[in-house]
């Protein structure tokens, strides 16, 4: 089974981000916006048509394209952070 990604989250679903499979520059920007490994992400209502998607992450709402969300892999466990570190 392929790993679940942020793009699999339906409106209202939550998940814990495991890793970002994007080039370093993009990963850095996304992490600055709150998409850090171990952080809890929940999906908000996407734009009409389903793309871009809107995520509640780290206290704010951020819109990213579905294609980007597909590269953000969710972790299997529901454990937040290594030790609930970020929030």
């Amino acid at each position: 089974m392929p790993a679940r990604t942020l793009s699999d989250l339906r409106q209202g679903d939550e998940g814990v981000l495991d890793r970002l499979e994007v080039v370093a520059d993009v990963a850095e920007r996304l992490m600055e916006l709150g998409f850090l490994p171990g952080v809890r992400v929940s999906a908000g209502r996407p734009a009409p048509g389903g793309d871009p998607m809107i995520f509640r992450v780290d206290g704010s709402e951020v819109a990213i394209r579905r294609a980007t969300a597909r590269r953000l892999i969710l972790s299997d466990s529901e454990q937040v952070g290594e030790a609930g570190d970020y929030v």
Partner: protein, 636 residues
Amino acid sequence: MSDLQATSAAKVPPTGPKNSSLISLVAVVGAPNCGKSTLFNRLTGLRQKVANYPGVTVEKRLGKVRVEDGREITLVDLPGIYSLTARSEDERVARGVLLGEMPGLPPPDAVLLVVDSTNLNRNLSLAAPILDLGIPTLIVLNMSDDLRSRGGRVDGDRLAEQLGVPVIQASAARGEGLEAIRSFLSGRPAVRERLELPVLQDIGSRRRWAVHATARSDYQVPAAAVWTRRLDSAFLHPLAGPLIFLLVVAAVFQSIFTLAQPLMDGTEAVIAASGLWIGSLLPDSWFRDLLLEGIWAGVGSVLVFLPQILFLFVLIGVMEDSGYLARAAVIADRTMARVGLEGKAFIPLLSAYACAIPAIMATRTIESRRERLATILIAPFMTCSARLPVYALVITAFLPETPLLGPFLGTRAAAMIGLYGLGFLAAVATARLLKSTLLKRRSPLPFTLELPPYRWPTLQSIGLRLADRSLIFLKRAGTVILLTAVVLWFLASVPRTDGEAPEISQSFAGSVGRAVEPVIEPLGFNWKIGIGLITSLAAREVIVGTLGTIYGIEAGEEGPDEGSPGLQQALQQDLTPGAAVALLIFFAFALQCMSTVAVVRRETGGWRLALLQFAYMLVLAYFGAWMGKTLVEIWI
């Protein structure tokens, strides 16, 4: 109270430690949309643009603050940054100023680090690299009104202890905490001992460091903004969302023709009456003719459109201040993606509805240079407010008003919306063209946009926008439009034969118009429109003033006291319906604005793209106008 922290810093006597000196240049730094410009405006009394979406400020802006002892300190407002890694032009400006790499600007001696206290954990991550610069820093916990009302709290004193720098709680919007900031600025803040900071390169550890500090400062995360979620479930709804958008747009354009009409008629009556009154005071002379035919008829005919422009600006203001604009950008992203652009490009494009010049500046937030250039190239197709007088004049003269959707939409508003749509289509089509050339390589950085919570647009902020816009408009009327009217009037009064002014068609101005007539004749334009097309290169709305002057002079030729027949009636005699459509299309497409050409040259770093854009839009305008005219003639 946390304010103490700042005041105690201010109380260090003048003979303080060696490493402290008076502050003279202060950088205002922080994440995008955290309220830096609002604070800057409060402290300096200036009116830097403020709006509720990230990326409003794209340039450094200097202002002066007077502090307790009467000294003046320079404050510099900066674009928002998430870290010291700069990826876009605006972030490079902020970074450059902070590090003292800006030519002509010394490194700042202090930093006001503005953080949004409703999202302290993330905002405070930026504090790590900033504090590491070793510049005296005051941390301003902004939006504390919002924090309180959503049930959050933070202990500023404890946070100050944690970070080793003064911290104050403030609300820039309400003017809370300003005194403490002023007294920090007037003091001689000691350079903080370097704290053991986490690995700066690693975002995760910066973030952990921030959480560590806030957790020890009793930080209580505020409840989610309920109304923002409610509103988003309507505005982002697949059906309701677009529908609401269309209804609002229709209502605004309708109001331009209905609600603004009485105001417009009023302005027109005042201008006409004052013209008559002045005319009756002055003796018959060339000066009286210049004043009435040249200036009153010319400038007056443009001034009449101020109310309509203000109506449009209320809409733009509400969209920008409420936070809706960021949602509109998200909704538009799919369309933009199809033509090779991204949703972020939509924000400058939307602000181009006010004026292309700030829009071109706003493209600095776009990380990819190619996408930025493409956005600059298509921005002038968006219908700027200078086109509004031209559209309104021609539409009102040629299209009778009949309701289409009851009181919500009439033919004139529909025509106006059509013209706005036409400009948008031209932009999209051009972007498509660029996709296979300039935008061939995909942008390396994907679209990301932080959505701000919705906020109420305040009457004050909308009022200020309208006042500023009116000032800009009046200034243009008093400079560019006045000047062209005067020059035109003189050119239309020479060469004199036997001390008599020539007929306007035989004057210098007339011969210039007749020289271009053969070129524009296929579009159904005569030499008078030709003169207008030339003068409108200065600014689009100048054509309205120019036609006002020309018809004013012609009316003077008929007989001194005939009074001018009114611009609309005069236009109806000079243009066929086909030519009227051609004129509208010409203005929709042509880059009749030298200031835009100049800004494009500056922002792209050369004449090449600026001239290419001008030529492209001119060609498109010419053929578009010709096709429009031909189609109308076939149809009628």
